[in-house]
């Protein structure tokens, strides 16, 4: 009974809130007012039932968290499948084969979408080093992406350097920018760091927008060549497929690198730094050096992704590197689960592919997107697939 009253309250509240926009419609041409009372009924009913579902889910979640507190680390089925080679091998190899066959099954348009999804996988995994593993909130990650993209565009424009030459240069440049930004900024903690990196991202964008002699301003740089295949010129379609395979390769390298970094002495230091900086220093970890390594390595992947992005679109301008971009990459990391490689990949695909395929509902896209984010954060604050703490089991067997 109390539940019904509560839901009634919710529905009345929503009816009241949405009254001006859902019920009243002012026709400014004929100067009449339309009253759409039926809408009010719909809003009332919908919010009434939704509040029931909401409360049910919250209750379930609370029960779940109680279980977690009582000791055992709850590991979901998905996490289990991912962490046991017996199950994950066939799944991974299937996904791999599917990804290999992908450009031959679908159109160039689809392949292009998949390429941008893969670029975001790379960006997400790169930022995952900084935010997910080392726990440094970086809101200006897109700046390093821009550095990579403009490195290719400008070096090609001025010196006619090819894609393969610039790829490492772009990564290196981004890493250098990461270190340059890192040295003054990494003394800051948490919120302050976030604000400064946000500012840095905007500075890079504004420079690119306003320094016409250097970056050609808002009009951007066009006719950036696609990567060549051993000196051969490729048509649009072949080039797309070629870039697609290149991206697959890069993604695999990224996964490999991030995985290795995570399970190393350096990775442990990052994790510890995320947990407690003072204790870390007392244990002999050089805070600056370790943080800088995280920043530089994260930036490197953004640099690589930037170079590939420039080569893929053949045109770049500062509008591609706004704060929204940083926010999307960050939400990929948070949505997927901090520090979880599989989670980040899944989230990147969701975040990039869903909006593409939901173009039919494009007007509601942002609304749905926001609602989905809120739901995930309420019910799975640890991310879609949280990372599993590595266990050193063999050590126990030995003795």
């Amino acid at each position: 009974m109390r539940k019904i009253i509560k839901s009634l309250q919710v529905s009345f509240w929503f009816m009241f809130l949405t009254f001006p926009i859902m019920v009243i419609r002012v026709d400014t041409i004929e100067k009449t007012v339309q009253w759409r009372w039926l809408n009010l009924l719909y809003v009332g009913l919908a919010s009434f039932f939704l509040s029931f579902i909401w409360r049910f889910l919250i209750k379930k979640k609370e029960e779940g968290s109680k279980k977690e507190e009582s000791g055992e680390q709850t590991i979901t089925i998905v996490q289990k499948i991912i962490s046991t080679p017996k199950y994950n091998r066939p799944i991974y190899s299937f996904i791999f084969l599917f990804m290999l066959a992908f450009p031959w099954i679908v159109s160039t348009y689809q392949t292009n979408i998949m390429i941008s999804a893969l670029i975001y996988v790379m960006l997400g995994l790169g930022l995952n080093i900084v935010v997910g593993i080392a726990g440094l909130l970086d809101l200006g990650y897109v700046a390093f992406y821009a550095v990579g993209a403009y490195a290719y565009a400008l070096l090609n424009y001025h010196y006619h350097l090819g894609f393969w030459t610039v790829l490492p240069i772009g990564g290196l440049l981004a890493a250098i920018f990461g270190i340059l930004l890192g040295i003054p900024v990494l003394r800051l903690r948490g919120d302050y760091l976030a604000i400064v990196t946000l500012g840095f991202g905007e500075i890079i964008r504004l420079i690119l927008e306003n320094w016409n002699e250097f970056s050609f301003g808002p009009s951007g740089i066009a006719n950036i060549p696609r990567p060549g295949f051993f000196g051969m010129k490729l048509g649009v379609e072949e080039a797309t497929i070629y870039i697609y395979y290149l991206m697959i390769l890069m993604t695999i390298i990224t996964i490999f690198v991030v995985n290795r970094l995570q399970n190393s002495r350096l990775g442990r230091a990052w994790l510890a730094l995320r947990e407690d900086e003072v204790a870390c220093e007392a244990m002999g970890i050089d805070r600056m050096k370790t943080k800088l390594a995280a920043f530089a390595l994260g930036a490197t992947w953004a640099g690589f992704a930037g170079v590939i992005f420039a080569a893929k679109t053949t045109f770049i301008n500062p509008a591609s590197f706004t704060f929204l971009e940083s926010a999307i990459i960050l939400s990929i990391v948070v949505l997927g689960g901090m520090g979880s490689i599989v989670g980040v990949i899944l989230a990147a695909f969701l975040m990039i592919l869903l909006p593409e395929y939901l173009r039919a509902f494009s007007e509601y896209r942002m609304l749905l997107f926001g609602a989905a984010m809120v739901l995930v954060m309420v019910f799975r604050p640890q991310g879609l697939i949280p990372s599993v703490r590595r266990k050193y089991v063999y050590e126990l067997k030995e003795r």
Binding site: S264, G267, R268, A269, L271, A279, C280, A282, G284, I285
Partner: protein
Amino acid sequence: MAEAILEVRELCKDFGGLRALDHVDLEIYPEQIVALIGPNGAGKTTFFNCVTGIYEPTEGDIFVLDRKGKKRRINGYKPNKVTELGLARTFQNIRLFPNMTVLENVMIGRHTRTKSWIFGALFRDRRTKEEEKETIEVSYEILKKMRLEKFVNELASNLPYGAQRRLEIARALASEPSLLLLDEPAAGMNPQETKELEGLIEQIRDQEKIAILLIEHDMKLVMNISDVVYVMEYGRLLAKGTPQEIKEDERVIKAYLGEDHDA
């Protein structure tokens, strides 16, 4: 007698206008257990923080014998440098890495004794692999010594309180210090656990052959295990001596129990 592992001369630390440490002298010799006691706010933890590099002292000198047996002045060294030289500490309010496993916590302690960096992590060459294996083995040995082996893969935050205290000591030991600094190791422990801790500290001194400096409020523990006791009050050293001498020292009794107005 051998040279002092830690030698502090005329150490002062000001916070604004407040003098938290006022010309403190202290020295510790190998395999000694030294206790630092005093009422709350006497500056004991400030002293720890100065020695371990978390604060920079305002005046005075701190000398440490490094691993090669050379005497070094460590004023203004960063905490990680101090740890590299062979001083390891625990914290008054436990500062473990709560979301890492017990073993990982100790492995972090091995950081100063290992070297691999980005390239080692990426290419996992033979040296890195061996180093990693050694890290795990040594860490496990230390856990066994601290009777924590059954918790190896547990998250640190899930441990009972006493075990968390022991884990902090284990983590500090992993850096193979020559001097272990314990900040109120028995705080919040019951008498039984305190008794165990007493044995553990003595065992550490005997097995690892290291010196221990501890801040502690539990007088029974202090008097039972210390070789030398320093008493602080209002940032100043009040007294120094063997437990027996301290027990009988008028000034110390006054500091703890207040002035006797009838006398």
